[in-house]
Symmetry: C2
Subunit: 274 residues, 2 copies
Amino acid sequence: MKLRRSERMVVISNYLINHPYELTSLNTFAEKYESAKSSISEDIVIIKRAFEEMEIGNIETLTGAGGGVIFTPSISDAESKEIVQNLCNQLSESNRILPGGYIYLSDLLSNPKILNNIGRIIAKAFRDQKIDAVMTVATKGVPLANAVANVLNVPFVIVRRDLKITEGSTVSVNYVSGSSGDRIEKMFLSKRSLKAGSRVLIVDDFLKGGGTISGMVSLLAEFDSELAGVAIFADNASARSKDLFDHKSLLRVTNIDVAENKIDVEIGNIFDKS
Amino acid sequence: MKLRRSERMVVISNYLINHPYELTSLNTFAEKYESAKSSISEDIVIIKRAFEEMEIGNIETLTGAGGGVIFTPSISDAESKEIVQNLCNQLSESNRILPGGYIYLSDLLSNPKILNNIGRIIAKAFRDQKIDAVMTVATKGVPLANAVANVLNVPFVIVRRDLKITEGSTVSVNYVSGSSGDRIEKMFLSKRSLKAGSRVLIVDDFLKGGGTISGMVSLLAEFDSELAGVAIFADNASARSKDLFDHKSLLRVTNIDVAENKIDVEIGNIFDKS
């Protein structure tokens, strides 16, 4: 379809936003929008500048026969920090405390806008890593993993705590259940859900004992895959897990006072320079 | 930040794409990009035309003091049908048959691009309905519900088959388990996860007996909420569920032959005019 230049720029930027981390040749655009490759090339320069000025992301141009453009989404530090500070305030609300000192998170982790923002922030924090898949454990981690995988444009893999017929053959490992301290439980991953040799980013909602994460790390070994990093929505400052493995957290819960109905939350280590 | 017109159009279209179903005043853009409201107005006209020509979506302009623009994402019929036909072919692959006649779907439902496309197609099919939330049952429905909620920019609600401490107070209903025929099981929904008076779109991966959907419908009544519609990734042609309630399906499995290792799949009723 033939479009005016201004319209063409709108639809090319829409295309790039919806195809992150994908190489698209300029010829594809030239054919699609019935324009000269040189015009498309000029469009890309303008889009690139706009994306960079607003920190929407970067556009890389690869020259040569197999060349084209790749869009990598980003988010500005200012916007990231404002989003995390906002989440910090929401998590501090006293009505989130559940019996047993648990924290209600489901409203935050079922809001598409929040999830999308979290996905962009986590993806940016791991932008130097090659990531082939995002892994999480059912159920609460799923929307988070989905959000990060969405930005990275890679599949996500769901580990289960129960065996489902619809998953086919599975591999299982034992792990120490975080909530109950020293109970040993099993987690399962469908054999065909992860290719050997994958570099995997593990994502979860809350980190307390670290048993679930350790379980997923041992599953990675069973699948001849490698850990690319661990990202957590909220971790617990008192958790001994911080000694077990490196992770990046958006939020850190420093204190839960059930008697006083008070949660203290601060920004996690995701913005720390390592 | 002051931008050139062409750059401004790129960032305004990016903003609209990331804020579907949201009213944004022209003043917001005028202040953000240090431009006259009349220039923004002209930009919107061009973006609107480009979005409509490529069927990316519609931009509605509301005039008056509380006015602004609202972007509603869409997808062309041609693209929708190509996507669903493609899914049809993938679902027909013989290696998906699991013992017991189950079908392996997890690879399709963990691919961000597929999920995003499904989300757009389902959202378009229900565009005449007011929808306040999307509901599904854990675990496999979650990425689907997430994808639809993402496009509609509404929260999603996860019904569970087991009781979790981290959900706080829950409401439970009994339902007839689809897979086992006549076993009665329980499903749970956190009390604070759904506001009274919500209009809810139910989304699930596979429809066989319809027991799970009926369970969710009875949960809606417990939450003084209303059913806006039912969307299913794949339904089973032989299911008696089609007599129980209206639903829209992307795919229809007409036959599973475990002995011959063969699945017959056709396009569901989502494109039928009702």
